[in-house]
């Protein structure tokens, strides 16, 4: 197996006086979808934000595509080829959908073929292309947020809870788009609470608890073992539907 695209070794992160990540070890292989699962508050979002350099790791090492990025500033990390979709969407409401997309393209230009691919995955973005992003619905904003990461081919996509709080029909659209991204051979690290979506997309799983990765393995293994799910994260409560 080739080198992982992303490797975290013993990463610890504090936020104010709280010790959130207590030594995260994680490999994200190339060309696969790795699901980061776990209950609320175990450090999944903090892990993604630490990778992006928003929170600084106080110990440990983060290697991306062979280079140590632990101490790099956030913009440099983004430009080295990571497309990040934060949990709260973070779209720029005063700008148009088009301007949001152009900003996200490192080259400053949009490849028409790529744009058409995105339009097919998220038809509302075609409709509101020239309109202000602030007037989109919640689901459409989430589409824009993901489309922004997809506007260029990235070496790695970090996606935080893309289906959170969305209507079922939009969850389906979102899952289909992510599947297409996966089939195009992308490397993805995905945080997802909806286990049905996670099961359908994930190749590999890392389960977190208390600021550490406590289990890693194949998605098939976890999906086929209800007892394991229950033990690792009490999934029977959230993932049954």
């Amino acid at each position: 197996m080739s080198d992982p695209i992303l490797r975290l070794e013993g990463v610890q992160t504090d936020i104010a006086q709280y010790h959130i990540l207590q030594g995260v070890d994680l490999d994200v292989p190339r060309g696969k979808v790795t699901m980061l699962l776990g209950r609320n508050g175990v450090g999944k979002t903090t892990t993604l934000r630490t990778i992006m350099g928003h929170w600084r790791a106080k110990a440990g090492r983060i290697t991306f595509d062979g280079a140590d990025i632990t101490a790099r500033p956030t913009p440099a990390i983004a430009r080295s080829g990571i497309g990040f979709v934060p949990e709260n969407m973070g779209i720029f409401g005063d700008l148009t959908v088009e301007e949001n997309m152009v900003l996200a393209a490192v080259s400053g230009r949009i490849d028409p073929a790529r744009r058409d691919w995105i339009f097919e995955a998220f038809p509302p973005l075609r409709t509101f292309w020239k309109g202000p992003a602030g007037t989109l619905s919640g689901g459409q904003k989430q589409m824009l947020s993901i489309a922004r990461a997809m506007i260029e081919e990235r070496k790695l996509y970090l996606i935080d809870e893309p289906t959170k709080g969305l209507a079922p029909a939009i969850v389906t659209t979102m899952a289909r788009a992510l599947r297409e991204l996966k089939e195009a051979g992308a490397s993805i690290l995905l945080v997802e609470q909806n286990f049905a979506v996670a099961r359908a997309l994930g190749d590999l799983v890392a389960v977190m608890d208390d600021g550490r990765v406590i289990w890693t393995g194949e998605m098939a293994e976890l999906a086929g073992d209800a007892g394991l799910q229950e033990r690792l994260m009490g999934l029977s409560m959230e993932g049954g539907h």
């Binding site: 928003h54 430009r79 990040f84 779209i91 720029f92 005063d94 900003l103």
Partner: protein, 352 residues
């Protein structure tokens, strides 16, 4: 053609387009439409303030950066021209050098303030600009050997820009063809070019990144933009334009003093103009500055007329006495901020 000039950022409201056109035509033909020294002076002041307020809008409306040092940059441009003309003599070279030196000084100061303080939270940046601006104002009034202190400086600009210079013997439409007229058009064209340049800047990719940073700076960083660099660049650019506006003002007035170009009152006026006009639009600066300067100059007269009209009635004449013009100006602002929270331009665009 017009779309290119406006950098594709049309007014997007019929009423707004008409208002802007009226302002443009009135300012372009001011010497002929409103003859008289006082009205021409008001027109020149409007031109200068439009540019000054538009440059502040780049910072506040697009960059989300609150600065209290904008009059300081304005003053640097004005004192650049004044000192250069005072010490290098009356020549075009001295004038050009003064404009350039003022702009360079403003950029350098903005760069230093920005570099040291734009990493910290917005409120600290605002405080630091306030401190630096106050310090510079004190320095200028103390260094009376060079700056003339509180009295300011009177200096000579090239003769072609003064009333003494006549380029046609006969008046045209009753207007004397002299250097004062040329001077006005230098100010008008300078301001117009400056505003069109600012429109270009805010509609460029740079302007879009600034807006993105204003809305969500972490998100802008996470897609690869160096927030501090962009903020520093915006501060420098805005300072340069403010200094240019200051230079135009100094050319027009042939006088500078702390109270005309450096006072905190001007800073508050700029803030009011940008808020009343509509932040983050550039066009708001045009309407805000025009309304404000006209009100400042003519409200007293209007009230004098009103006082006369209501003579004999109880209370009303006393309320409308020209001495109370500041009260009414304040009232007008409170009402306009209350009814147009997004400024005049925002209101007009919403109501189209």
């Amino acid at each position: 053609m017009i779309a290119t000039l406006l950098s594709g950022d049309a007014p997007r409201s019929r009423v707004l387009s008409v208002l802007l056109l009226v302002v443009l035509v009135c300012l372009a033909l001011a010497p002929f439409l409103f003859p008289g020294t006082r009205s021409l002076d008001t027109a020149a002041r409007i031109c200068v303030f439009i540019l000054l307020v538009a440059s502040y809008d780049l910072l506040l409306g697009y960059g989300g950066i609150v600065s209290f040092a904008h009059t300081m940059f304005f003053g640097m441009g004005a004192y650049g021209v004044a000192l250069s003309c005072e010490f290098l003599g009356r020549s075009w070279g001295a004038l050009a050098f003064g404009i350039g030196a003022g702009i360079v000084a403003a950029i350098a100061t903005a760069f230093l303030i920005g570099l040291f303080s734009l990493r910290v939270r917005a409120i600290f940046f605002a405080m630091i600009t306030l401190a630096v601006a106050s310090a510079v104002a004190v320095l200028v009034s103390q260094l009376s050997q060079i700056t003339g202190g509180e009295d300011g400086l009177n200096y000579q600009i090239p003769r072609a820009l003064t009333p003494a210079f006549k380029f046609m013997e006969e008046p045209v439409f009753g207007v004397r063809m002299n250097g004062k007229l040329l001077n006005y058009y230098v100010v008008f064209v300078g301001a117009l070019v400056g505003v069109l340049f600012l429109l270009r800047v805010v509609n460029s990719p740079f302007g879009r990144v600034l807006q993105a940073i204003r809305e969500n700076d972490f998100r802008a960083e996470a897609i690869g933009y160096r927030v501090v660099q962009y903020r520093v660049a915006a501060t420098c650019l805005s300072a340069a334009i403010a200094a240019f506006a200051g230079a135009l003002y100094a050319i027009w007035l042939r006088y500078v003093g702390p109270s005309t170009v450096l006072s905190m009152e001007i800073m508050l006026d700029i803030l009011l103009m940008v808020v009343i006009g509509g932040m983050g639009t550039i066009y708001g600066a045009v309407l805000g500055a025009t309304l404000f300067v006209v009100a400042q100059n003519y409200l007293q007269e209007l009230m004098g007329l009103a006082e006369g009209a209501f003579e004999g009635l109880p209370l009303l004449p006393a309320l409308l006495s020209p001495d109370r013009w500041l009260l009414w100006l304040g009232l007008l602002f409170i009402l306009s901020v209350y009814f147009f929270p997004t400024g005049i331009v925002g209101r007009l665009r919403d109501g189209r």
